[in-house]
Amino acid sequence: MQGFAPRARRAWAKYWFRPAALFDIAALRVLAVGLQLGLLLLDPRYNLASLKVIAALPSSLYWPLPVVHLLSLPFGGAYALSLGTMQSVQVVTMCAGFLALIGLFTNASLLVFALGCTFLQGWACSFDDIHHPEAVMMVALGALALGPSGKLLSVDSWLSRKFRKAPAVDMLSATSPEARWPVLLIQWFFALMYLSAFYAKLVVGEGQWFNGYSLQFYLAVDGLRWGSDLAVWLAQFHWIVFLSSLAVFFFQGTFFVSMLYPRLKWFYVPFGMSLHVGIYVLLRAPFFQWAVLYAVFVPWGELLKQLRLMRRGTPVAGAFDAT
């Protein structure tokens, strides 16, 4: 009879390090880096000008997060950070992001990009204002930096073929044993975030969050605060809002089950995507990072293979493996 440890090790390796499509992780890299770079360049909450606004805040608001203490060590510590330092960090981060997007020195540039984004965001959050859309993006960039996300859709792969005479591969069929774990890790991270939100509704909401009035309240508050007429209008329908509360509560509390039974993702993933789009449309809460990172649930390689086969008139039944 085999011992528990070897069996557990094999099961662990089979779960996290089974060969998976390289295209999925490469597509995720392009989407995630593309969004994050776009936010750093264009969004007034994250761009270079925002650093000036943050640096001008009263120093009494500044309480550096542990991650800022850690990442600021090369710059003399969290209390030695100047506007010039942070602007330099942002410029370097954006350059690294551009390289990561096109896939040049992909792993190194992605690692710099992930650390830079975490540093910048952590510094902004250290001024008494922590929000929730950004964290999963930092973790996702870190995971992608450690995986083979530059093996396809990248300048690296083009250079490798051109100069090292690496054989051309069918992009949609290429696999790697290390292409699976970053995807699964980000998926599990979503499950844990939802579970935390579910738990908070039980504890902070004192078990009464789903009474209908809570969600009516939030629709009314955010509708009035951010100018969403649709939310204000919806806030008058108690029963619809009550049922929506139950649906959200159920979704957040049980999302992790879809990680154990992947076929359930056919229900949970469209529901979750609709939820985040709905939250943005109604409450104007900009969870863009979550919405784009939902791409982690899409088997892009299989999807495109199916489309290719359909164009040829021979779709493969049951080809989607929801990981």
Partner: protein, 151 residues
């Protein structure tokens, strides 16, 4: 058979996976957001009841003599909404408005003739049928300490 480099690499990656998921699991139930990027997610989690006043925003006024008063908005202090509510409004509501408080000093610098700061709530509540308008209530009036005076 995996070679030694691959075994070491897989072990390190496994450690990373465990660290990320383990930290998020703990953070997710720990009621703290200090461990960024590992957080707990209490967004929209508080429960509310019928008739509860909507906390869309607070209104802050600097009250000067002879009936003069000035509304102070987040943009007057180059602050976003959340920092304004968290730092400025909370300071006034907790009556911490001495000039050693840098946030309050900026407020008072805008209106040096202010003799008090007043906070009012939002004029509406939630009902079963939607939003019900209400009069705005004064929820705090805090005298401004004179220069050099201490609380």
């Amino acid at each position: 058979m995996p070679d030694a480099v691959q075994i070491i690499r897989r072990t390190l990656l496994s450690g990373f996976i465990l660290m990320v998921l383990g930290t998020q699991t703990v953070a997710g139930f720990s009621h703290t957001d200090r461990w960024f990027p590992f957080l707990w997610y209490p967004m929209y989690a508080a429960h509310h009841e019928e008739g509860e006043r909507l906390d869309v925003r607070h209104f802050l006024y600097a009250v000067a003599g002879e009936g003069r008063e000035y509304e102070i908005r987040p943009e007057d202090l180059q602050m976003g909404f959340w920092r304004f509510e968290g730092a400025v409004i909370n300071s006034v509501l907790s009556r911490k408005i001495d000039r050693s408080n840098e946030v309050i000093r900026r407020v008072l610098d805008l209106h040096p003739d202010a003799i008090a700061l007043r906070v009012q709530d939002y004029p509406a509540a939630i009902t079963r049928n939607g939003i019900k308008p209400l009069p705005s209530n004064v929820i705090a009036v805090v005298p401004v300490p004179q220069q050099g005076a201490s609380f």
